[in-house]
Symmetry: C2
Subunit: 294 residues, 2 copies
């Protein structure tokens, strides 16, 4: 089968064999925002044409391609949901050159009843075997980080944290940015920021401390971005792990980012296992197995 | 005497009688950033000339006028410090038309050893009689809110929270702003935000929830700014009150802002008393009493 993780800014396609192995892959910047005039069909065919010619004709798409801004809206499916429930709610796109379907996103509420939605992350989570086998917690870091609970092979709930976007706004549009220069993203300043997130006073106080430490000559301009990043990720991880601080967390995403989160999770008392974005390919293949293709 | 609370963007002068009463006041936008070519002397004389002509010649200035960007730098005095210590560290500005002195700011560290500084707030705090008499906690809300501890007539420590500036950056430069319209700053949405700050998940999760609630049709665009403000102020107040949740807090500042903070402090289990910015006049008069004028 052919699986495509089709997001707002990125397009990643996988050709997956019957044994679940990834036989081929393509990636590029053809996210839904970069496809002109809604020409999603043409774009898809251009990208995966050679695989179609080689005999594949089952194509499963996940991510923002199923949003209102995407190709065709695939309504959110409420939690709990696993591969079978997602496969039962696929949205069909008719084509003479392939059978194309879209995986719906999931909806839920946090424990206080506030609404939550996701698109694409559900498929990545289902592509991490230990989560399906034993259940547990997944973390998908990013602009809007997701923390996902899995029980008995189904996603039972999740929460979103605005960490990446808050970092950008604070760095770009407050006094903190004025005393920062680009520097390495990990290292000792990041660790110091994570440690700082355990201090009394709360996040809004710790943010001001970035400036105070720089003014006092205790933080170099080029170390300040990593320190700020450590404070924010540390606060996210501590809050998300609060119900079970010693949990094993499956961290899924780009290697640079999962490395930072793994450090923070370890520093906060948890244990992290890292997975890259190819988890999406396994998740798509698994959902495809459960789907009706005729 | 004449007291001036001279900040970055505002200038507020008071003529104070021997009995401590404010006999006259002037205010305007002549903050230090708005005084061209460092002409602080001319600006001061223009503003308070009539009072000088009436016989006053002791002039005490507090606030950013004593910073490196101001008239003359008044080095930070370390905590603990009260009226006598501040009066002993005034910085003189020689003039033939008046005796002008600047109150230094204060420096300290939070309980984790991170540096803290303030300029101007120390004078306002000393102008609130119950704090001097009985000690306690002051809160000065704003772009960078200050929480100040007073014991036996001296300021013993303080912390800063980047609440106001974080609100501006989040509203102006994240997805949250895109779903907001101007609306009233208090009311039920503010209270809901303060209540939300007590939920599990942490600030970065609660921020994302602003969007989630709006998408779910549970929050009107014009209510969203007050809800966001309540979340941020709620987090600040909860963290600052954590050591003593049922504390009495003296809230000092502009009436609209102290009203919001008083609501949040009450919702978090504390008790708030409100004071306006004229506390600066009483603080300046008190420091002037302790000072050597010859």
């Amino acid at each position: 089968m052919i699986g495509v993780d089709w997001g707002t800014t990125s397009f990643r396609a996988f050709r997956v064999g019957r044994d679940g192995d990834i036989r081929d892959r393509r990636a590029g910047p053809k996210g839904i925002l970069n496809v002109p005039d809604g020409r999603f069909g043409d774009t898809l065919r251009e990208e995966i044409g050679p695989w179609l010619a080689a005999g594949e004709d089952r194509v499963l798409l996940s991510g923002m391609i199923g949003s209102r801004q995407g190709w065709k809206e695939a309504p959110y499916l409420p939690c709990p949901a696993g591969p079978a429930e997602l496969a039962g709610a696929l949205v069909d796109i008719g084509f003479d050159w392939a059978r194309v379907k879209i995986v719906p996103g999931l909806s839920g509420t946090d424990e206080s009843g506030v609404a939550e939605v996701m698109r694409g992350e559900e498929t990545q989570v289902l592509g991490v075997p230990p989560l399906l086998r034993e259940g547990g917690i997944a973390c998908l870091p990013g602009t809007h980080s997701k923390w996902v609970q899995v029980e008995r092979g189904r996603i039972t709930g999740f929460t979103t944290h605005m960490t990446g976007e808050a970092f950008g706004a604070l760095r770009g549009y407050t006094i903190l940015g004025r005393m920062m220069r680009d520097g390495p993203s990990g290292g000792a300043p990041f660790d110091a920021g994570v440690a700082r997130s355990a201090d009394p006073g709360g996040l809004l106080h710790h943010l001001f401390g970035v400036r105070a430490q720089a003014l006092a000559g205790r933080l170099m301009e080029s170390d300040a971005p990593a320190y700020l990043s450590g404070i924010l990720i540390g606060h996210e991880v501590r809050a998300a792990l609060a119900p079970a601080a010693s949990a094993i967390v499956q961290v899924i995403g780009a290697p640079e980012l999962t490395a930072l989160y793994a450090k923070a999770i370890t520093a906060c008392g948890g244990y992290a296992e890292r997975h890259d974005g190819e988890a999406a390919a396994r998740g798509l293949a698994l959902i495809a197995e459960h789907a009706q293709w005729n």
